[in-house]
Symmetry: C2
Subunit: 207 residues, 2 copies
């Protein structure tokens, strides 16, 4: 057999298995005990490896959280865009997507809060993967704007990526407000995020 990059080799396979073991162990402990209370030693033990080995798979404890959250985030984003109505007002399509993401965070709000608080400026291999996901998400938001432009709903001179960037900031702000202040999910979505998006669409100008 020829060398098959990383994944195919025996070494690569064991490495993948171990990463998965660690992901599971961390996920279970974070859910059961919360992020702060979970010790890296406990994660290592449940994954059946030595303490030091953990740090060959995640740069630090934060990066472990990113390892765990990456898959959940990816699934939620995929799901959100899969179930997206083909047509309809831009506002409702955005809300459909953001609702799905909020719902994901609401399953374990404390974990979500820890994750979102660490997101800005995070580094480490798994943080990079999450950043890539976020970047792709931003482009998907821009695609929605482009489609709305084709429907004549959005002015043609608006740069889709610029609009996506603004909307993402509004989404992130709402997410922080919700997960920090712990106002209930529905209120955060309908009374905070939705009016913010409405105002971004409307603008401040007269008319």
């Amino acid at each position: 057999m020829s060398k098959v990059g990383r994944e195919g080799s025996l070494r690569g396979q064991k490495k993948q298995d171990r990463r998965e073991k660690i992901r599971q162990a961390a996920w279970n402990l974070f859910r059961e005990e919360g992020y702060e209370k979970t010790t890296t030693r406990a994660v290592a033990e449940r994954a059946g490896i030595a303490t030091g080995t953990l740090f060959l798979y995640a740069r630090d404890k934060q990066d472990l959280l990113f390892l765990v959250m990456h898959d959940r985030l990816e699934e939620a984003v995929e799901d959100a865009f899969d179930g997206l109505p083909r047509r309809g007002p831009l506002l409702e399509r955005w809300m459909h997507v953001f609702r799905r993401l909020f719902r994901m965070y609401s399953e374990y709000p404390a974990l979500g809060a820890a994750f979102v608080r660490l997101l800005p400026g995070a580094s480490g291999p798994n943080a990079e993967r999450v950043n890539a996901l976020t970047f792709a998400f931003l482009h998907r938001l821009a695609a929605l704007v482009r489609e709305a432009q084709e429907q004549g709903e959005v002015a043609p001179e608006v740069l889709p990526m610029q609009a996506a960037s603004n909307v993402f900031s509004l989404y992130f702000g709402a997410l922080l407000a919700w997960l920090s202040g712990m106002l209930p999910l529905e209120l955060a979505l309908e009374e905070h995020l939705r009016p913010a998006l409405v105002l971004q669409i409307r603008g401040l100008r007269i008319g």
Copy 2:
């Protein structure tokens, strides 16, 4: 002499002195070594107190950073609104304010980055003081919107606080992008924040 609440008493005076000593020590060390590398022991030593005493004045190391940043932030906000042109386009008045804040962070960008990253959902006595500052800032932004409404520049049906909240999210997003990615100050302000604000004012609608 009657008891004068907290400030007048000898006890209260010593406490204030000590808080100031700690603030100075932390500020100098954070500047010289950075937030992460500075140990709480070092701060205590330079302030001339025991390790444990530090935590009577700040709940934890994070709260120490908030203690340090509060005054700088307050000064920058005060300064920004003092120097604000009495009239002029809303966009330029916003940019005047945000430029002043960005400039404050740019004096010690690494410290600013640490601070901004810890801001969301921070707790502790000094974090509360910073949150109060942020809340007041939000209201000042809303006041600018209200003035623009009186000038007929902004539609009367727009809720000033809603607009302020959106603009704050855009500001915070730009701040995070700048301090995380370390793109230069001028670009972050003029190529990131300004277009975002322009688009918020303009909206996405046709016309």
